[in-house]
């Protein structure tokens, strides 16, 4: 569009754009009734009017997620007072991820963030994707070279990438060459050391807006906090030496000097709300494990199938066992189906039989006969008794669809109102199920695949009918009900069969880290990237060294995680001590620009 009159300008030139082809319609004579023009203009007007809470995205998000006042205040503060560059350092469990997604939503709706990169630890990439998809209806691509959907590091407008992947040669140059509108870094305490590759990576990425998320901006030393702030706004805290001489009261960097001055500077780039400041109810978790003695037929089935799985596993070449490939994961699934329910293992065995050779199919047929003979699962009987004796709504988790169906049918036969929810259902069907649970059914039987994004705070009893081997999954299950907004204490019932691998995991791993007593969000602090390797490690020791070997391996993992838990606890306390009294919460109207 010509706009120039050739005169020198003291102000920027206005660019012309025609995103909806209006000029073309006009010049080609493609006209619509005047009422459409009115409606077209109205659509812009609505977007420009701030919705609920002064957020453009407020009304929409308000209906999808339970937004807390401190989150709204944080978003407004970052958007309007920090120019979109901030360290989000709320205490654990206050929903930093939601805050970051809300800030993204604001910028996206305002047309300011179309190129967005999210850097996360490897274990959390899918969690971010699910969170954005289910709560914000935003599709992000997880950068994974093995995923056919993934086109390249510089080919996606909205991408989630793990730190490790982003640092790979080939990825790093492309990511750093791109100019991003918004960069979000989760678990940003991993950037505490300015000499690490993680830090250098984030420093090298160009982005207009930057959000660093961590509940513990300092792990050991105030300099770590300095390093984070230096990424958000270089120079705000001066040089490192300057910072040390001005604000460090001891050589270990754990005590603050000039607290008000530091608070003033931090309040320009940092938002930190504590649980106390929110006045929200944070309820407790109580867990009870029902260790069920298997019937003889069940024990026979368990042992026979385990032996079958072990023979398949040991037949694999060593290299495939050490670097678990797809066939190992199939065997792990088989082992977990066995522990889940008889229908789950029966269906899996039947599917295997279709592809098996003559020798193997005979073996499978024998297993199937054992399955058929085992009768009603003891766990199922136990869950029926539990449901009968427990007042209020109950959320039962199963890993597999067959188990879900089995539990549903058994409970319905005993006269209990049941609704089901799974990833295999369509959105409409899922919503109907949730409504049925909310309005009438006593029980919701749910698979993990469909559970992301559900808000079920009206229910406070969770039953793990089968138990995932990965603690993060267990936490996600519990998180469906034990989350911000839950007003009652949460009761968790775990069902395991004595002598099974799940039984050991529960006793030696989960109880050691006191998984069922953790506060919301704590687990993220404890689990490192090792969490991805838990399943194959347990399986390998179980297959190669039998039950005793597995018990020892699980115990070692438990001790390791327990140590990490203590460490995380110490770090949390250190952050509280250093940051205590600093008014950084947007709720308290602390400093700022």
């Amino acid at each position: 569009m010509p706009s120039g009159d050739g005169l020198p300008r003291a102000f920027p030139k206005v660019g012309f754009s025609d995103p909806y082809g209006i000029a073309e319609s006009l010049l080609e004579g493609r006209f619509y009734p005047v009422a459409w023009l009115g409606l077209c203009l109205k659509s812009y007007e609505l977007l420009n009017e701030a919705g609920a809470w002064g957020l453009v995205s407020g009304a929409f998000l308000g209906s999808r997620i339970a937004i807390m006042p401190h989150q709204v205040s944080a978003v407004l503060k970052v958007r309007d007072g920090m120019e979109g560059r901030a360290l989000l350092a709320d205490e654990v469990g206050l929903g930093k991820t939601i805050e970051a997604c809300m800030i993204y939503s604001e910028y996206a709706l305002m047309g300011l963030a179309s190129k967005v990169l999210i850097l996360t630890p490897p274990a959390l990439t899918r969690q971010w994707q699910d969170e954005l998809r289910t709560k914000f209806l935003e599709e992000f691509t997880v950068a994974s070279p093995r995923d056919p959907e993934f086109k390249g590091y510089d080919k996606h407008e909205k991408m989630i990438i793990s730190m490790d992947t982003a640092k790979r040669p080939g990825a790093m140059e492309k990511i750093c060459r791109t100019r991003w509108d918004l960069l979000i870094v989760d678990e940003a305490h991993r950037l505490k050391n300015s000499r690490t590759q993680n830090y250098k990576l984030v420093k090298a990425i160009s982005s207009r807006y930057l959000l660093l998320l961590t509940a513990t901006p300092l792990q050991n030393n105030l300099v770590e906090l300095y390093n984070l702030v230096d990424l958000v706004r270089p120079g705000l805290l001066g040089s490192r030496l300057e910072f040390e001489s001005r604000f460090l009261a001891d050589s270990r960097g754990r005590k603050v000097a000039n607290r008000p001055a530091l608070q003033d500077l931090l309040s320009r780039v940092m938002v930190r709300t504590t649980r106390k400041e929110t006045n929200l109810p944070f309820t407790e978790r109580f867990s009870k494990t029902l260790r069920i003695q298997p019937k003889r037929s069940e024990r026979e089935l368990y042992e026979a199938v385990t032996e079958y799985v072990r023979s398949r596993y040991l037949a694999l070449p060593r290299a495939r066992r050490e670097r678990p490939a797809a066939d190992v994961f199939l065997l792990i699934t088989l082992q977990r189906q066995l522990a889940s329910s008889t229908p789950a293992i029966s269906k899996a065995l039947r599917r295997r039989m279709e592809k098996a050779g003559p020798g193997e199919s005979g073996e499978i047929a024998k297993l199937l006969r054992l399955a058929e003979a085992s009768g009603e699962d003891s766990k199922c009987r136990a869950v029926k008794e539990l449901v009968e004796s427990t007042p209020g709504k109950i959320l039962i988790f199963t890993t597999f669809l067959e188990t879900q169906e089995y539990v549903r049918a058994s409970l319905e036969n005993s006269g209990t109102g049941v609704a089901c929810y799974s990833g295999a259902m369509g959105e409409e069907e899922r919503q109907k199920s949730l409504a049925a649970f909310r309005e009438g059914a006593k029980v919701l039987v749910c698979t993990e695949a469909g559970s992301e994004g559900m808000n079920l705070q009206f229910c406070n009893v969770v039953v793990n009918y089968d138990l995932p081997w990965n603690p993060l999954r267990v936490e996600q299950r519990i998180g469906r009900v034990h989350r911000l907004g839950q007003e009652k204490d949460v009761y968790i019932f775990n069902l395991t069969m004595r002598g099974t691998i799940e039984d050991y995991i529960l006793e030696l791993l989960y109880e050691k880290i006191r998984l069922f007593q953790l506060t919301i969000g704590d687990l993220e602090l404890i689990l490192g990237d090792e969490v991805r390797k838990i399943e194959p490690r347990i399986f390998r020791s179980f297959m190669e060294k039998g039950a005793r070997g597995a018990k020892r391996a699980i115990e070692r993992m438990g001790l390791d995680l327990a140590r990490k838990r203590d460490l995380a606890e110490a770090v949390k306390k250190r952050n509280e001590a250093v940051l205590e009294g600093m008014r950084l919460s947007p709720l308290g109207g602390g400093g700022g620009e």
């Binding site: 660019g15 319609s25 006209f31 005047v34 459409w36 203009l41 209906s63 939503s105």
Partner: protein, 367 residues
């Protein structure tokens, strides 16, 4: 807000010919473009939660869908009904005279009302809709901004593509003039912020350099001391400092460049809607007669569809627009300000008084 969204969506459904049936607080909808898909939507968050309907609010997928569709239909053609010249002239206020229509010549004219979504972004963003009305003579047509105007849909008899293009270009120029001052102020403010940010970065690196130089000096003195004592000294600190200095130069340039790109003012006008208008303008010959019958005068007035004059009659004495017409007995058309001036001969219109006082003074006639 939700009431406005509801109104918007319902209007969309009506205009697009989509099926919609109310069921309590939910609306069962089948969009015209997706006959095979039924949707249950609601504008109430509670209802969405309770019944599992799709909530429609700003930013929701359904809102985006219909808003995008409406935005593609933002070009319209319309015309104004013809004004009645006699009636329009009768409405022009006259103080001591009467205005009579002596003849009217109709001309078909075109105008364009362009709606620009004007966005200015730095680290923040502001956005507003700017309306620019331009006539086929290339001038801004302020009369088109009056909210009471109701043009009616019409099929264009001829497109006048070139004319439309010129008006569109002109509308953009007018827009630039309109937002110029605002942009200038914003640029100054942004320059100030940028300067602060660059100062911060530069003083930060200056400090880092000082520290590196100090470190180097220290390493050098240590090395000299060691040399004096005949001891070996690796001197790595000095090399390290030199490396740091080079690195700081690179990082400073990078950080300054980043700050510059953050504090850039970007202004963009997106054409959001355009209304091409056809209307009749009447060039009216009108006879002005004062009530005493002592003077009469013929004037030519250009009449717009809203019954107003394209250019108001101007006072022949002060050249300002006339609110209420006065016709002096000499036949001058003057406004209220210039209607009477005291002279020895009595009260004369400003023009007559001027002529009376001039070097070739003529006999002024009294009002």
């Amino acid at each position: 807000m939700s009431a406005k969204v509801e109104e918007f969506v319902k209007e969309y459904l009506k205009l697009s010919g989509s099926e919609a049936r109310e069921e309590g607080k939910c609306l069962l909808v089948r969009l015209k473009g997706e006959p095979g898909r039924a949707r249950a939507i609601t504008f109430s968050g509670e209802e969405a939660e309770r019944r599992g309907c799709e909530l429609v609010a700003v930013g929701s997928p359904f809102f985006r869908l219909v808003a995008e569709d409406a935005r593609r239909r933002g070009a319209a053609f319309a015309s104004f009904p013809k004004a009645d010249p006699a009636a329009a002239l009768a409405r022009i206020p006259c103080a001591n005279c009467k205005l009579e229509l002596a003849g009217a010549e109709e001309t078909r004219r075109r105008a364009l009302v362009a709606h620009y979504l004007f966005t200015v972004s730095t680290t923040k963003r502001s956005q507003k809709m700017v309306e620019v009305a331009v006539s086929d003579s290339g001038e801004e047509a302020p009369w088109l901004y009056s909210p009471g105007l109701r043009p009616a849909d019409e099929e264009p008899r001829e497109l006048g593509k070139e004319e439309a293009r010129l008006m569109l270009e002109r509308s953009f120029q007018i827009l630039e003039e309109k937002v110029g001052e605002e942009l200038r102020e914003l640029s100054l403010e942004t320059e100030r912020l940028l300067s602060e940010a660059v100062d911060r970065v530069q003083s930060y690196y200056a400090q880092l350099r000082d520290e590196a130089v100090n470190q180097a000096e220290y390493a050098r003195s240590q090395a000299l001391n060691a040399k004096g004592k005949g001891e070996a000294f690796p001197g790595a600190g000095y090399e390290e400092a030199e490396k740091l200095l080079a690195e700081y130069d690179r990082l400073e340039a990078l950080d300054v460049e980043r700050e510059r790109s953050r504090y850039q003012v970007k202004a963009e006008a997106a054409l959001a809607g355009a209304l091409l208008l056809s209307y009749s303008s009447f060039k009216c010959r009108a006879l002005l007669r004062n009530l005493e019958g002592s003077a009469s005068r013929e004037v030519v007035l250009s009449l717009l569809p809203n019954g107003e004059l394209e250019k108001p009659l101007s006072c022949e004495a002060c050249k300002m627009p006339v609110g209420e017409i006065h016709l002096c007995s000499s036949g001058h058309v003057v406004g209220e300000e210039c209607v009477a001036k005291k002279t020895p001969e009595g009260e004369l219109c400003a023009l007559c008084a001027g002529q009376r006082e001039g070097p070739d003074g003529i006999q002024g006639k009294r009002l």
